[in-house]
Amino acid sequence: MPFTNLLVAVDASEASNRALETALELAQLIGASVMALAVEGPLPAYAATVGEVEEVKREKDEFFGRLAQDVRARAERRGMSIEVEIRPGHAAELIPRVAKERGADLIVLGHRGHFLRDHLLGSTADRVAEHAECPVMIVK
């Protein structure tokens, strides 16, 4: 079955950059559309000061703003356009859900993110592969 609608998960890690490049290359080869999903992780849980929350929120906004720019620039270098969606939540839950919502027929993601909690809680890639209703490509 040819893939027509790819969803790639991005988080600026090396593995995610490789996944993005792979998704773009594949989409170009088979003429599929591709969208990028960046999952904004939670703010500091049980914060003691509003300042701590505001600072992390601002850092996140800046980080994801730069990430979206970088993703679009990588697509443009290949003469492609890409939609970038940033959503708050937990990656392992959100990626399969958004893939379903958006009718994606292939999820592409890197094999490891860049936060320690990703490793402590088990691989996001493994959990996405378990919960997704469409094929999942894990890029090493």
Binding site: L43, A45, V50, G51, E52, L116
Partner: protein
């Protein structure tokens, strides 16, 4: 343990807490409290005077910052509903927890009042994080919850300042200077900051710290506590800080880099794990004494003012952390409560930061987009278009 050894361990723990916080996405304060518990229970630590002083000052700075973070416009907009929710959110757990500690646990009257105050709080920061994360901070219900939280906190700091006053000759200067600072500083701030601001020597931070230390000194002389004037002073300067974000940021940097870690580590050091273990039953009942009155008292008002998200609102109003810790530490430092009582109160406060938040987020979290649509339908326009906070 020598002062230098303790300071090294504390700052090392503060560094570790920052790194763990970034990696795990958990508040640095909670991790500092936890590491403080480890330090206090593993090492033979006798809390030195300098740590008691710095932690006390940090508590006042935290209170000032909490006041400065209030959105006054938002508070004015939501005054009627937030005053009602905030007032019962403070008074119900205060009365129940105080009565339970006094009659049920046999604590002294003053210790029971500390218990009531510590368990009456609602955590502005915990609430704010949940609302920002979900985007609800830009909806009417989110603004209403934030304003109600402020009212609860005002009740807490007022009780902490008033209940333990033993009026003496210093009380009048304390009140006069408090009023003078609250009325005067916002007026001189613009000119002062224009003339002396934006320098690495930070005269504006020194002005704020000098004012807070003056309040602490006079408060101590008057046998009172400076939390109320510090909170109101922060509130009085909140509009100024709202239009001068960089000043507020620099103040936060100084506070978060050095002062607040010592406050939360000191709080953790005072917690005795054996005492907690020996009083697990009391701990559970105190937790219930905080949460149940909040649920019972706030829910009817939340149904009226925050429908259809009364359960979510009520659970968020049941959270607590910073003011609960400040109140408990005041009680410990003033000799009003002992180590076991302090350990129990801090443990309940930490539990109340976690348990209601998890339940609210897991089972009752409103859809922010749906709320925004509801606001737009009711008001004929987005409620808080383009607003971040």
């Amino acid at each position: 343990m020598s002062n230098l050894a303790l300071a090294t361990i504390l700052l090392g723990a503060a560094l570790a807490a920052s790194m763990i916080s970034v990696e795990l996405g958990i508040s640095v304060a909670l991790i500092e409290l936890g590491l403080g518990v480890v330090i206090g229970n593993v090492f033979d630590v006798t809390t030195p005077d300098w740590l008691v002083f710095l932690a006390g000052f940090a508590g006042i700075v935290l209170t000032f910052l909490a006041g400065a973070e209030v959105d006054v416009q938002q508070l004015k907009r939501e005054w009627r509903s937030s005053a009602a929710i905030g007032a019962v959110s403070f008074s119900a757990p205060f009365l129940v927890a105080t009565a339970f500690a006094y009659w049920g646990l046999g604590w002294t009257r003053e210790a029971a009042e500390i218990c009531g105050i510590a368990l009456s709080t609602t955590s502005l920061a915990v609430v704010y994080a949940v609302l920002v994360e979900t985007g609800l901070n830009r909806t009417v219900i989110g603004k209403r919850i934030m304003a109600a939280t402020f009212v609860t906190d005002l009740g807490t700091v007022t009780a902490l300042s008033i209940l333990f006053v033993t009026p003496n000759v210093w009380f009048i200067p304390f009140v006069v200077v408090s009023i003078a600072l609250i009325l005067g500083l916002p007026r001189i701030a613009p000119a002062f900051f224009r003339r002396f601001g934006d320098r690495v020597i930070e005269p504006e931070i020194k002005l704020a710290f000098a004012g807070l230390l003056l309040l602490m000194w006079l408060g101590a002389k008057a046998d009172s506590h400076a939390v109320l004037p510090a909170f109101v002073l922060g509130l009085a300067l909140s509009s100024h800080y709202a239009s001068h974000r960089s000043e507020q940021e620099r103040l936060r940097v100084v506070a978060f880099a050095f002062l607040t870690p010592l406050f939360f580590l000191r709080g953790g050091i005072g917690v005795s794990l054996p005492a907690l273990w020996a009083n697990v039953g009391v701990l559970s009942v105190l937790f219930v004494a905080k949460v149940i009155p909040k649920l019972v008292a706030v829910y009817p008002l939340a149904r009226r003012y925050c429908a259809p998200h009364a359960a979510f609102t009520t659970l968020l109003m049941s959270t607590g952390l910073t003011f609960g810790t400040i109140s408990s530490l005041y009680g410990l430092n003033a000799g009003i409560i002992d180590e076991t009582q302090f350990s129990l109160l801090v443990a309940v406060v930490v539990l109340s930061a976690i348990v209601p938040t998890v339940i609210a987020q897991r089972f009752f979290q409103p859809d922010a987009a749906e709320e925004a649509r509801r606001d737009t339908a009711e008001l004929g326009r987005p409620a808080f278009e383009g607003e971040e906070g």
